[in-house]
């Protein structure tokens, strides 16, 4: 347990990472706010969100969705010491009460480093997040 586990064998271009599904709700939002120190009321206060939210309702932290995409990447890589970089664009809001799916696919391998395309997808099949990770194999 003291060393990182090895990444999955036979990683090649096109390999899909095991995906995760996550519902966002008031509990996940408040836990993320407390953990990250980001107490923007847009993420837990309907009165505030009703005035400023792009959806008119409470939306999840963008960084919550990035954290989940990074979780997919890091688990596949075998631990945080193998993660070189992760970057995302937040393309749609993630309303509370909905489920999103986070996944990835290897798009390139060079000099022992895999590039992974990361996605976050909502219940309608629209992307809430698009990104890229680089991991050491």
């Amino acid at each position: 347990m003291s060393e990182s586990s090895s990444p999955q064998p036979a990683v090649e271009v096109g390999t899909e990472l095991p995906s995760i599904e996550q519902v966002s709700n008031l509990t996940t939002s408040v836990m993320y706010a407390g953990a990250s120190g980001d107490f923007n009321p847009l993420h837990y206060d309907q009165g505030f969100a009703g005035q400023v939210s792009p959806t008119g309702g409470i939306i999840a932290h963008g960084m919550f969705s990035m954290g989940l995409a990074s979780r997919v990447l890091t688990a596949f890589a075998g631990g945080p010491e193998r993660v070189l970089e992760v970057q995302v664009r937040f393309t749609r809001p993630w309303p509370l009460g909905t489920t999103s799916t986070f996944g990835g696919k290897v798009t390139a391998i060079e000099d022992g480093v895999a590039t992974v395309a990361l996605t976050g997808t909502n219940e309608s099949g629209d992307r809430i997040l698009k990104g890229t990770g680089r991991i050491r194999l």
Partner: protein
């Protein structure tokens, strides 16, 4: 009010962040993480990569948002985020020196885009721990907003 492009390149005072086991655990819990090392009481405890969010997003933006010459305003969304990591993961007890800098200011349609970089190094060795690049989208404040075609809203969170 528009952002002041002369502020590109400005650095703000370095702040210190001490990584703790409890904050790593809270962060891992909030993301439903299962790697036992994130919850370990032992020397093998490490932080998940995006644990960096807990000391680069709000703390990293504080000085810029308090700068009266920069011209930020509250109608904004987080458009994009990038983390580049150093050679070793963050562990409990690590002290990080974090320096925010305005890396870029640009305009697209009626929106303004500001990239705030936070370079975090391990205080004991000076080695890079993580570099954060946050793209904040300020909605509707670009100087040419009246004439410009409205931009697609990229940011969402």
């Amino acid at each position: 009010m528009a952002l002041n492009p002369d502020k590109v390149g400005t650095t703000y005072p370095t702040y210190t962040y001490e990584v703790s086991r409890e904050k790593i655990r809270d962060y891992a819990d909030a993301l439903g993480e299962t790697d036992p090392r994130y919850f370990s009481e032992g020397d093998d405890c490490v932080a998940p990569p995006t644990f960096a969010a807990s000391f680069t997003i709000v703390k990293g933006g504080q000085a810029a948002f308090a700068d009266p010459d920069l011209g930020t305003h509250p109608t904004l969304v987080h458009g994009a985020q990038r983390y580049v990591f150093g050679d070793r993961p963050m562990r409990p007890g690590d002290v990080l020196n974090c320096t925010p800098r305005i890396a870029d200011i640009s305009t697209r349609g009626s929106n303004e885009f500001m990239v705030t970089e936070v370079a975090c190094v391990f205080a004991d060795s000076g080695e890079p721990a993580v570099r954060s690049e946050a793209t904040i989208v300020f909605l509707g404040s670009a100087p040419a907003a009246a004439d410009a075609k409205p931009a697609t809203q990229e940011g969402a969170a």
